[in-house]
């Protein structure tokens, strides 16, 4: 069941995943969203099948002397949904308000 009209924060998270950022904290840094937005968004994306998660191999984590991480990646359904989402928010882009240029798109990198 693909949800209709993902909120912009979720689209941003999906966008970050699509560009290969797999890790919660990583996504957070890339998008500039708060942790209170990113983690539920990741959870939600997984529950509706737009992303999937896996646990980092315990062996690898052990060698790096840290707990194993939960990695997320975008699914093919997620990619389609992302394109739809970007189309939708792109419509907002060309506006200028009181002569102030609007940042191009939502991606700040």
């Amino acid at each position: 069941m693909a949800p209709k009209n993902l909120p912009i924060g979720t689209v941003m998270v999906l966008h970050a995943l699509a560009r290969g950022h797999q890790y919660g904290f990583d996504v957070l840094e890339q998008t500039g969203l708060t942790s209170g937005t990113v983690y539920p968004a990741l959870e939600r994306l997984e529950s509706v099948g737009l992303a999937r998660s896996r646990w980092e191999d315990a062996e690898v984590a052990h060698q790096a002397k840290r707990p194993s991480r939960r990695y997320f990646e975008i699914t093919s359904a997620g990619k389609e949904e992302l394109i739809r989402g970007l189309e939708r928010y792109k419509a907002l882009a060309p506006l200028t308000i009181d002569g102030v240029a609007h940042p191009q798109g939502v991606d700040r990198t």
């Binding site: 890790y23 919660g24 904290f25 957070l28 708060t34 942790s35 209170g36 937005t37 990113v38 983690y39 539920p40 959870e43 939600r44 529950s47 646990w55 980092e56 984590a61 840290r66 707990p67 194993s68 991480r69 939960r70």
Partner: protein, 878 residues
Amino acid sequence: MTDRVPHAARWTIAIAALLVPGYARRAWRRQWTAELEHRCSQSARPRGTFRFALGSLSHAAFLRREELTVRGWAGDLRHSARALTQSPGFTLLTIMTFAIGIGAPAAIFSLAEAALLRPLPMEDGERLVRIYTTKDGNRFSVSYPDFEDFTSRTGLFESASFYRSGGRDVSDGEDAERIAVTWVHDDFFQTLGTPPVVGRVFTQDDHDPTAVATLVLAEDFWNRRFAGDVNLIGQTIRLDGTPHTVIGIVARDSAWPVDAQAWTPLLWGGQVPAADRRRSNHSWNVIARVQPGVRIGDASVQVRDMARQIYAADDIDERDAGFEALVMGLGPSRTPDEAVAGFGVMGVAVLLVLLVACVNASGLLLSRASLRVREISLRATLGASRVRLVWMLLGESTLLAVAGGATGLIVAYLGLREVLRSAPGGLDRLLQVQLNWSVLLAAFVISLLAALLAGLVPALRAGRISVAEAIKDGGAQVGEGRRDSRLRRNLVVIELALTLALLLAAGLAIQGFQGQIAGDPGFETDDLLSFTVRLPAARYETSVEVGEYHRQALAALERHSGIAAATATSRLPLGAGGLGLRRAFIFDGAPEPPDGETFDADWVEVDASYFGTLGIRPTAGRPFTDADAADTELVAIVNSEMAQQMSPGKPIIGRRIRSVYDENLLRTVVGVMDDIQFNGIAGETRTPLVLVPRSQSPRRQLAVIVRSSGDPAAVIPEIRRLMAGVDADIALDELQLLRDAHAAGLAPVRFLSGAFTRFGLLALVLALSGVYGLMSYSVSRRGREIGIRVALGASTRSVRARVLREALSLAAIGCGLGGIVAYGLSQALARLLPGVAQLELLTAGAAALALAIAVLAASWIPARRATRIDPIAALRSE
């Protein structure tokens, strides 16, 4: 977690972890530990770590919401639906079980809804009421002083009016026809809120005694007799020869009374006739519209209190003491009290069917749950909480129950419509069964109730499955421990007990009904026809004229070769119509009430030819003869019941009786006749009767009985022709075979008894399928045990006997319990339906035996299957 992580962040995670649902908690902690670790490793002085950790709270809240919300549950439901489609046999069986269990109460509810709950389709129909006086639980009409007090002194009613109904002959244009006319007081249609379809309804001026007599017609009568001719408005039609101007047409649905064909105003013109100034003259039917916001129940209490006060006063006649009052919705007022009792009985019956179905479905769900132990324990292992497992299984039973309920409702609706349409007696018009919101809602609520009843035990049971059990090999065996099979056996015992109780109660009710249907009327009815006529007072003024019509009519009929005999009476036997009069008698010289006792009897005026036409003779004394005339001694014939009541053990012939409140003339009893079915119900075969010669009490209303010499239906047109020859303007009403009239009167009784039989059979089918299911299950579960027995040399016969013995022991316990329930039920039934016999031990024993045999038959196939178990295969399956 390393020491680099600040305490505040750590605590936040620990608190947030409490919010996370159990199944996800460990993974969640791991994830956040890793995240925090990562964040803190980025720099030596991690700023904002606490703020970052706060995000864990919304993450945890998100997971918790996910589990609790409909989405989580809906996911489970979807899963359940998929799982159900994978076992279509179980699904279909369970849905059908629910369909039977829910369809039956849904059917009865939709009947009750149509009869008792639905307001009439007038504007604000739920505010329309009837007002009755009541005494000893019976409803009576209202006298004019009561009407005034109840409606104007209480301030409860926006408007009120009253009416009385009767028959009048219309003879314009085509054949004469008797129609139902209602005489109405001021504001009648205004109270009802009935708009005219054409023309207008009555205004104050129409009630003026000097005005032209006016008439409002019902739309269907207008369509039928006058082909919906709009030009009829303003024209004159004659009722009993008196001209009335038609001023308007009203729609049948928004008019009252339901069967009225024409309305005409009472011409009181503000004056109350002397007879109606008496409080004891309870002769008006009162309708009223309660003020907005007034509840009918509250209005009823207030009016009742007022009636109590009025009738407790000193100036009230002895006979009137004890009257109370009742306000009742206009729609429900159409349903007679006996029918309401009938609904009560049916309600109990269908609840039993529902219970049996739920118990049955419970057994089915239980065996399914035990087959799914692996799946359920897997879910438990993966962290599904017990609550969630129980919810999931309840969701599954809800799916099944709602599907079953929908199926049952549709079948019940179509079935009821069919049954009602084929039922005579206008049942389909009174009971317009609809699939409306309240019926749908009721069916839905019943379905949910059924889901809970059937699903709770299996769901709780499954929720208790331990993870450890599931991990053991052969998980499929685990849930079928001794506890489970005992539970299933108990369910089947309950089912059998309820079924026996229902069958016995149904048997008793049917016995009661059969008595009413099949009772011997006491005379040969096959060739009898009957009809009634009313002679208009305008043209038949004197008793001589009435007597002349009577003599000519009978002579014309008797001359016809197809007619063997004809007679006239005041009231037809078998409840087929005519004038019903009940009078109170005492012996000559006996004290009058309140000191003395009176004996009530139906008063019947008959010709001398009455006995010959019906083919009965007085068993003692003499019949009436033509010599019994207006100027000879006043005589009477009583039936055995009346003789028995008035003069037990002593001859009554020769003694003189009189009806104290009415005729009040002494009559000598000259004969005693056998009891006949007079009011159409065999339970009342013993209605006390007093017969008097018509010649001594002439009346303008005649009920004629004709005995044909050939096919009775063939003489119907002949009778019309002959009677038109005597007076073409007199309508023959209810010209029909007497036995048809009788059958029509019994239609509701037949309907009830048929429904009861069906409910009993449904419960039986359910219970037997439950037994079959249990025994098959038990045989398949104990395959190994049986295999060992066979391997050790048990014979086929002993294996079979073992299975059958188990079934029989269930039947025995079930029948024992069922007998107790049935006893209680029969007591309740006897109170609700007079004429229902007490439960007899022999009947109960026979029913129990029949049930036991049916149980044996249902376990026969599983028992045979047990004998075919191959010991080697059974042992190897381990």
